[in-house]
Amino acid sequence: MQIASAVEGNKATLSLNGRFDFHSHRDFRAAYENALGESGIREIEINFRAVDYLDSSALGMLLLLREKAEATGKNVVLAGLQGTVKQVLDIANFGKLFSVKA
């Protein structure tokens, strides 16, 4: 999986590309830790538009990010949900845990 990071004002966007699974662990953490460290950032958006699959360990990584973001007063938004990705997140009812944007 490739991750492109961008910061605009107080919002950081991580655009994911490819298969989000166990092997993405290190890259994903490295990408969000930058954003967590910036005190000016209030919102971290994870964009799934180019993700074609995510497994349960990816869900675990999102939960871990959510916990760390809460501790630093930041909000995590899931965006660009479509196809299989949307289906997996819906079954896990992640809409009840995260802000979701179309």
Binding site: S56, L59, G60, L64, I91, A92, N93, L97
Partner: protein, 567 residues
Amino acid sequence: MSGASLKILIADDSPSNAKQLEILIRRAGHVPILAGDGRSAVALFQAESPDLVFMDIMMPGMDGIEAVRRIRALPTEKWTPIIFHSAQDGMGDIVAGLEAGGDDYLVKPASPRLLLAKLDAYARLLALQQKELGYIAELESWRLEAEEQSRLGAHVMERLTDAEGLRDPMIQSFNLPADTFSGDLLCAARGPGEVLNVMLADAAGHGLSAALSAMPLTQAFYSMTAKGFPLSSIAEELNRKLKALLPADRFVAASLASVDARNQTVEVWNGGNPDAAFVTLDGKVSMQWASNHPPLGILPDGLFSGTTETVVFHEPGQLVLCSDGLVEAEDPEGRWLGLGGTLDLLVGADDPQRRFAVLRDGLNRHLAGRAGRDDISCMLVTMLIERRRIPRFAAPMPVHQGHVAEWQLNLAFSAPELRYIDVVPAVLGFMTQVDALKPHQGTLFLIISELFNNALDHGLLGLDSATKNLIGGFEIYMQHRAEGLAALTAGRIGLSFLMHEDEGRAVLDIDVTDSGPGFDHEALLRDADLATNVTRPHGRGIALVRGLCSDLVFSGTGNRVWARFLL
């Protein structure tokens, strides 16, 4: 190789040549071993296992080419470089030497500078090999340790999942691990009222770490089921347990179901698993329970919801639970079996009894001999409508002989407690401590829960059982009940138990009072008489209690009931 000393075998039949090489090697800080012909070179190679070999070709008896061929044929775990050192300088000799297994070829007399440079070059290669062998040994010890942990994990997991309850004739299941063992967990057990509880849990990931996440669930599931706790309370407790034990990125998707063949209901809590489904015997998917909650172990107590969905089934059929490994099982082209594909297989079976086999076969065809990427599990619970009015454990039991210790227990619950305490399991928990009552646990659960629910539903909440007669009525009734209970601010239910002897017979008297307005109990008893003959959803409870007790008397305005149970 700086510092490290090599053991070097020199095979040469000329003592002066050997001596020259020996001195050079010794000066470079290595240890020479001498062999005067091919045969002793092979013997010394085996005895001393040197790090490097200098081999002459022309020697009496066995020549160098043959000696190298034999050395290379020996079993070995490491590479030992062999350098031919010979006066033969023809192309044919050099090629023959390398083909026999030599690594290098120096023509005699080689200059000391060249010999030393070669020694150093091979020392560097050997150091690299040494490092690699170290890594391999380390990997091997990791592998052995991991295997040992897996073995232990698989053993414990097998014991935990090998539940008596899964051998229930109503249940068929499979659990195919992606790893040494599965992170999917299947449980089944009967509660005191003959209700069958099942659980299919799927921990994030697979292998040991996933199995470890699922393990805490079993004990709570079995003990709470045995005590008769409602499904929502079991879900809440399982979530509480996992939330306390697991790190933030670990969770367990689960579907829990409670199957009540007597009341013809199926109750489901689904958090993170694919839809649970009910397939009628004639092959219609009559109900699907989608995941309504996040998986277990994520939400804190206050935010977690144990809300279940109950459906009345009017014809027999099968409840199907599965993990996402089944839905996401891939064929060789990477296409998922899907929920639709799964249900199509089940519905397509010509004989409902063969559905399980058809699903297994269909899955095997889909996977085409390859293992699943994730653990794949599925459970089928076959439900037949029980027409019998009296449950099977009400078969004649030996009359309790001898003296019983007399005791009395009085309990009173007001609205705030009624809202959150599971009264019946709490009371039953005490009852099962009394030896004389132990064999009657199931019957007592039925009697107490019917009388208590009657007091709560009709006495305090004013619910009308007739609602249950409507189509979809049971669901409406349960919803009204949940809403009424949440809004309950006043009211009181008293429970009193007296165990004693009457006319030489041990008896348990049960007295239930509520603060409600009462009701026309004579009409209810008339109804109850009807209910013994006619299948109707209300009045059945009272008819059942009447069948199980020797006496049943309503008094007051109908807000007090007294029942006697013979031991």
